[in-house]
Amino acid sequence: MSSSQMLKGVLEGCLLAVISKGEVYGYEMIEKLEAYGFTMISEGSIYPVLLRMKKEKLVHVDTKVSPSGPKRKYYTLTEEGHHQLKQFEERWLLLSSSVNELLKKE
């Protein structure tokens, strides 16, 4: 299993976490993710996830004129988005500690 396949399921949670740190637009999210070491995803893959998150009202989108010229979509978390992020954190902690434990014993 490639790491990008593994990441697919948790990408939404990671994006929730990135957006929770403050208003952010698409390319910035990629830069932030890369700074944390997420270099294994193809950059475009965040957009289908963002579309779904917007549809599920986890994020709020503001279209503003960027300093460099073109209009840009800025994302912030909604109430529901914060709630989802909290759930993701709990699930991730449980899952990652179990996986770590399992791998340690082998």
């Binding site: 637009y25 698409g26 390319y27 990629i30 193809s42 950059e43 475009g44 893959s45 957009y47 289908p48 579309l51 779904r52 549809k55 960027s66 010229g69 073109p70 209009k71 840009r72 979509k73």
Partner: protein
Amino acid sequence: MKLSAKSQEFIDNLSLYLMTSGKKTPEIKEIVDELTDHLLEAEKDGKNISEITGDSPKSYMESLAKEMKTEYSEWLKYIPLVFLSIISYQIIGDVLLGELSYTLAVVIGQPIIIAFMLILFVITLKLFASRSAALSKRMIVVVFALNILSTASFFLLLYLGNDGVPVLVISSLGGKLGIAAVALLFLGCFAWWSKSWAPFVPLIVYVPTLAVEFLPLTNEEKAIYSSLIFLLISIVFFLIVFIKSRKEKPNTI
């Protein structure tokens, strides 16, 4: 700032793909703008388009389309309009140049063939929007064969279909003018609604024939002159398009 040719091609294909997949125009514009912005920044950082779309642009387009609402009504509303336009062109042509008399084969066959051609046209567009490696040679051949077949049957019906006994004949001047007025009114509404003159453009094909119709010439001479005029109009048209595209080229590179 401009996108590289490769990125621009991807963006163009994406809009076409989403459009033929029945997505709403404002939503398409939104995601296309967002990705264009992303690609601009990525190229500034020296990244390649494949780092953005992954290995397969086609499956990437599909993954975006899957998250967008499909509303074929958005697209389908054009089909009846184009359908009725084609019928209108024919009626106007027949009023101007020929007779309004149709056999059963034409009355039934023609609308079916036109509808089939339109649906095929949408499918063709969609196929070529997602194209690239995913599009096998066999599929291209099949689509082309179907297109040629439907076009051929259209013209075959046009020339042979009227040999039988007419079931629908309008011969009175009032009737002819009335039905032509309905057709023109429809085209007028279509032009007004789409805010362009495009719906009237196909009527140009009748101009040459009409131009020589009242000249004191034999039928053969009329046929020769009208095809010459038609050829001339086509050449002028292509020259205009050609010169225009030549002018635009230096900017896009």
